[in-house]
């Protein structure tokens, strides 16, 4: 079993993403975007990591979404292989229409807006640790296959455009009905208060990650690879201990992906 971590020009999280995948017991390699597309078919799953592909030119993820490698990924996704898009990876999947995966491009990830008590207190890039609540049933999607509904995971985010918006009034309802809303931002007790600093970027209903109807494609703004080891946790988190190998909350994403591949084969 092996996964490909796609590397576009401007990607910058590929190395630690591969480390995280390997620590979960999945073999893998970093796949440069302009390698022959056929080589991509040999892999069992794909991760599109974070960064600034093409420097976010035109729109974050827009240029990468038109690259031939994304066509191949679309085919592989249709064949049922799992894809996890992290941060810029999520943006690329949204621009490609692979997420929410209903009918073409159904949403956009726009600039962060921090709203507190009806006032906009801040905008733009923000790097902080947040807590994610898994709002989908277990086994719903590849990236959270082993995660229980309601589980809380501390995972950091760092982005300028994570605000999920859509012109389709019914989209969010549909996503809720189909259990395609996988993660929401919440506080440490699991409450998804709509105000900043719990809703870090103004995203509709605090949505932090979604999957497609089949559940094999997951996109999330926070970075599980940066929460892959317990030692990566913030200083005041009591779980930050146990040596270099102790897994952190983000590991669950990669373990889920591995399990999904095993089960679906």
């Amino acid at each position: 079993m092996k996964i490909a971590v796609i590397q576009f020009p401007g990607t910058n999280c590929e190395y630690e993403t591969l480390v995280a995948a390997k620590s979960a017991g999945v073999d893998g390699e970093i796949f440069r975007w302009n390698r022959p597309a056929q080589e991509l078919c040999d892999f069992d799953g794909y991760v599109i990591p974070g960064g600034f592909s093409y420097q976010d030119r035109l729109r974050a993820g827009a240029i990468a979404s038109k690259e031939p490698v994304m066509e191949t990924l679309r085919e592989e996704a249709e064949a049922g292989k799992p894809i996890v898009g992290i941060c810029n990876g999520f943006q690329i999947l949204v621009e490609s229409g692979l997420l929410p995966g209903l009918d073409g491009v159904d949403a956009a990830l726009a600039q962060n807006v921090m709203v507190s008590k009806n006032q906009i207190v801040r905008r733009g890039f923000y790097c902080a640790w947040t807590t994610l609540r898994h709002d989908a049933p277990p086994n719903r999607c590849a990236g959270t296959f082993l995660i229980e509904k309601g589980e809380l995971l501390p995972i950091p985010l760092a982005h300028a455009e994570g605000n999920l918006v859509t012109a389709d009034e019914n989209l969010i309802d549909r996503l809720n009905e189909e259990n395609q809303v996988v993660f929401r931002y919440c506080d440490e007790e699991g409450n998804s208060t709509p105000d900043y600093p719990v809703n870090i970027n103004g995203s509709r209903q605090n949505i932090a990650g979604i999957c497609n109807p089949e559940g094999n494609v997951l996109g999330m703004m926070p970075h599980p690879e940066r929460s892959n080891f317990a030692w990566q946790l913030p200083a005041f988190d009591p779980a930050k201990k146990g040596g270099l190998e102790t897994p952190g909350p983000g590991r669950r994403i990669f373990e889920s992906m591995k399990r999904y591949i095993e089960v679906k084969r």
Partner: protein, 155 residues
């Protein structure tokens, strides 16, 4: 009155080149698209002033980076040259940068005659086609915008 500042890069515009490359190499517009350029457009709504040209120059001093950009200012009118189809793209959701800029102009810099700031990009598409407007619309819808946050207008 509305003060328009059309701003473009004097140094190579890497973003325009990338967009052009993608249209030609990835999306099949190699024959139809001969060139593509990009401008930023600031449209600043102000209460009527006596010397709008002077005000435009002051705005330009704040908004135009003379080290790498050039600009043309116009009051109320917005005229583009021949030879290309100008496609304006802007946010239809709230534009945080435009709001921040308006606040800075009004509060920090004291331009209290400013009543609104709109920020957009104008893509200049040099097209070989019988119906270049239709082609420009197609290009806008297929690449230049994401309709869930952007709108476009062929000017």
């Amino acid at each position: 009155m509305k003060i328009n500042l059309r701003v473009w890069l004097k140094i190579p515009d890497a973003e325009a080149v990338t967009v052009k490359n993608t249209l030609i190499r990835r999306m099949g517009y190699g024959k139809a698209l001969s060139d593509l350029k990009k401008e930023r457009l600031w449209s600043i709504e102000v209460e009527d002033v006596e010397n709008p040209d002077e005000l435009a120059r002051k705005f330009a001093r704040q908004l135009v980076n003379e080290n790498k950009e050039d600009y043309i200012a116009s009051v109320d009118s917005l005229v583009f040259e021949e030879g290309y189809v100008p496609v304006k793209v802007g946010l239809h959701i709230e534009d945080g940068e435009a709001i921040t800029t308006m606040n800075q102009l009004q509060n920090r810099l004291g331009f209290d005659m400013v009543t609104g700031v709109e920020r957009s990009t104008v893509w200049k598409l040099y097209l070989d086609s019988n119906d270049s407007v239709k082609l420009a619309e197609e290009i806008a819808e297929r690449l230049l915008i994401n309709p869930h946050k952007d709108f476009y207008e062929v000017l």
